[in-house]
């Protein structure tokens, strides 16, 4: 524990965020894209907790508490939207959902 610095935690958070962003860019399945979005959110909360811990302040941790709350609500609404979309169109592949394209 003594030798793990702030930079190590931030590096982990940054790499996690980059992996999530790559997933959002290359995947076509809306559910997997949504999971990658959640991963990016989690990476941001990891950076928040690290800053909070190394600054000896509680406020970042409380913000993470709110982020988790909002993320839970957001996932519920987002999944309901995806289910509604699936009922209408019968697919969750984003390249098949292009009826507004032209």
């Amino acid at each position: 524990m003594e030798h793990t610095t702030l930079a190590h935690h931030l590096l982990l958070a940054g790499l996690l965020f980059v992996i999530g962003l790559t997933g959002v860019l290359i995947r076509r399945n809306l559910l997997v894209v949504y999971m990658c979005l959640e991963l990016m959110l989690t990476a941001a909360t990891l950076a928040l907790v690290a800053f909070s811990r190394f600054n000896h302040l509680m406020d970042g941790a409380v913000l993470v508490f709110f982020v988790i709350t909002v993320a839970a609500a957001e996932v519920a609404v987002g999944l309901a939207l995806i289910v509604a979309l699936f009922r209408q169109r019968g697919t969750v592949q984003s390249d098949a959902l292009n009826s507004l394209h032209d």
Binding site: M1, I26, H56, L57, A61, F66, I68, A72, V75
Partner: protein
């Protein structure tokens, strides 16, 4: 050189995240996501944020991912087999390597982040308002004093989400029957 537990959980988290992005089966992706979230929760524990680690496992790896798995199993959402279009692949690889290099440079070599160690173990409970402590009690104290209004708004947001989800699923039901 970071501590061994940190390296183990960081490798677990990054590997599971890679599984999430690369697997063609959505169920495998969801399992990778759960593993990555548990890895992040373990990192919260290493950062002495025990309450948040427990919350992460309960809410994210528990409730949210169960919701995801239900939806995945409800709909037949297997990816079409076959390679990704080369444009997508090039964009993804370029993003990954450029941003990873940027993150590595920023946090390891640029000197922008002071290389401070964790310092003394935080107290379990403190009389100083908003000092970092390990107990869940200090969360409650802050939530009901400094962050009272955000707490009320968060509660209201959960209610709005609940009503929204019910009305969303009802609407699509009636249009499907018509």
């Amino acid at each position: 050189m970071p501590d061994g537990l940190f390296i183990f959980f960081a490798a677990l988290t990054l590997g599971a995240a890679a599984l999430l992005v690369l697997s063609r089966n959505p169920v495998t992706s969801a399992m990778g996501m759960i593993l990555a979230l548990v890895g992040v929760a373990a990192d919260f524990f290493l950062l002495d944020a025990y309450f948040l680690g427990v919350l992460q496992v309960l809410v994210y790896a528990g409730a949210v991912m169960v919701l995801f798995l239900f939806i995945i199993m409800l709909m037949n959402s297997d990816d079409p087999t076959g390679a990704y279009p080369w444009k997508t692949l090039a964009l993804g690889l370029a993003t990954f390597f450029l941003l990873s290099a940027g993150v590595l440079w920023l946090f390891q070599w640029s000197g922008a982040v002071p290389s401070i160690a964790t310092g003394p173990t935080p107290p379990e409970l403190s009389n100083v308002p908003s000092e970092f402590t390990t107990s869940a009690k200090s969360f409650g104290r802050l939530l009901y004093s400094k962050y009272l209004l955000p707490l009320e708004i968060a509660g209201f947001l959960l209610l709005v989400a609940l009503v929204g989800v019910v009305s969303l699923s009802k609407d699509s039901n009636s249009t499907a029957q018509n």
